[in-house]
Symmetry: C2
Subunit: 221 residues, 2 copies
């Protein structure tokens, strides 16, 4: 176990995609560190992944589960109420130098946790830290500059802004935006569609929550 | 079928709570009108509710389902791409004078639709229109003034703001806020808890997305 963490997969206790979808993003990363965030231990086992760390206050882990832990898994107990188990996991990995995160098992169960975890994406993404949430059907990311991507025509793509200043130009989408503003509760772009093999978003100011279709991404190899 | 609609229940195709939870909110409302939003028809049938209207572009309803429709259900076809089926349903009911909405089956499946439907809550709530989303575990509402409620001690309550100007004072919560600001991606209150039989939120400016625990509300009668 290296002291420096490069890439980190954090597993929460909500909905997860198929193991092959997770593997698509992390399989070639030899320096990957896996963290089960509290009750996410069960999802790690479903994904047949052995976590390097189990982090949380263990209010969702039974003594039996703790006993069954593989010897490779190090227990890091945090009992502060301020941060969620996902935030505790991010902060722990950051303290070891980690700058790239994949987070799964954080969407779809209780809506307040789902929104809270999307809030975390906004809170911790910055020019030094890249975070992607792998949902059951989607890949979520906060972007604030140019984003160009390979796709298959017809990929469903959605974006939301929680920042009044966000302005965006799109290329290669069925419903184009040309230096237009988006703001939550006023305007959004849901189930937009790519039209060719490439598409791009250019953020003129502010930032966007980008939601792409997982099936299209993993099919693109 | 009255021409004027007072209260409307809109049913979408995502996760729904138990029928008894829906009934808690709508059972005494004789003037209730039920709208199935496209694929929500299936959820209406699960809830043993016969919709007065089926609204949408019917991309999620099979010809077989249309044939099986009860004769009480009026079909209203909208094919505009701009609005989602939920928005089409709200606008239709509003055109008939409806001012109070319950919406269910709009959270938990695809994350872009979940966020989009919470965005709708922000877009359509105003001093003339009251909207509540009944989720699987939660009741969601946008509030912008005082909100006082009966509860059981220990009810989990969460709130988020997508407005930089929101300031809030709470009473009767375990983690109190005293004229403090909240903003998505900066600060939120997740799984706060009530401490007594009554609690209140006072919004000094802006507005809040309030998420209460469905089980506590329905247990309170």
């Amino acid at each position: 176990m290296k002291n420096k963490i490069q890439v980190c997969l954090i597993i929460g206790s909500a909905d997860i995609p198929k193991a092959k979808d997770i593997n698509f993003f992390v399989k070639r990363k030899n320096d990957l560190v896996i963290i089960a965030a509290d009750g996410g231990l069960k999802n790690a086992s479903k994904l047949k992944l052995i976590p390097h760390f189990l982090i949380g206050d263990f209010d969702s882990v039974s003594p039996h589960q703790l006993k069954q832990l593989p010897s490779e898994t190090k227990i890091v107990k945090f009992s502060g109420q301020e941060d969620t188990d996902i935030e505790k996991s991010i902060k722990y990995a950051q303290s070891k130098g980690c700058k790239e995160f994949f987070i799964t098992g954080v969407l779809g169960k209780r809506i307040e946790h789902t929104i809270g975890n999307i809030s975390i994406l906004h809170k911790y993404t910055n020019k030094h830290t890249k975070i992607r949430i792998i949902g059951k059907y989607s890949l979520l990311e906060v972007i604030n500059s140019s984003y160009k991507f390979r796709t298959h025509p017809g990929e469903k793509i959605s974006f939301f802004s929680f920042n009044k200043e966000t302005r965006i130009i799109t290329n290669g989408l069925k419903y184009p935006l040309n230096d237009e503003s988006l703001f939550f509760g006023e305007r959004e772009s849901i189930s937009n569609e790519t039209t060719g093999e490439m598409a791009s978003l250019e953020i003129r100011s502010g930032e966007l929550l980008l939601i792409r279709d997982l099936k299209t991404i993993t099919a693109n190899g």
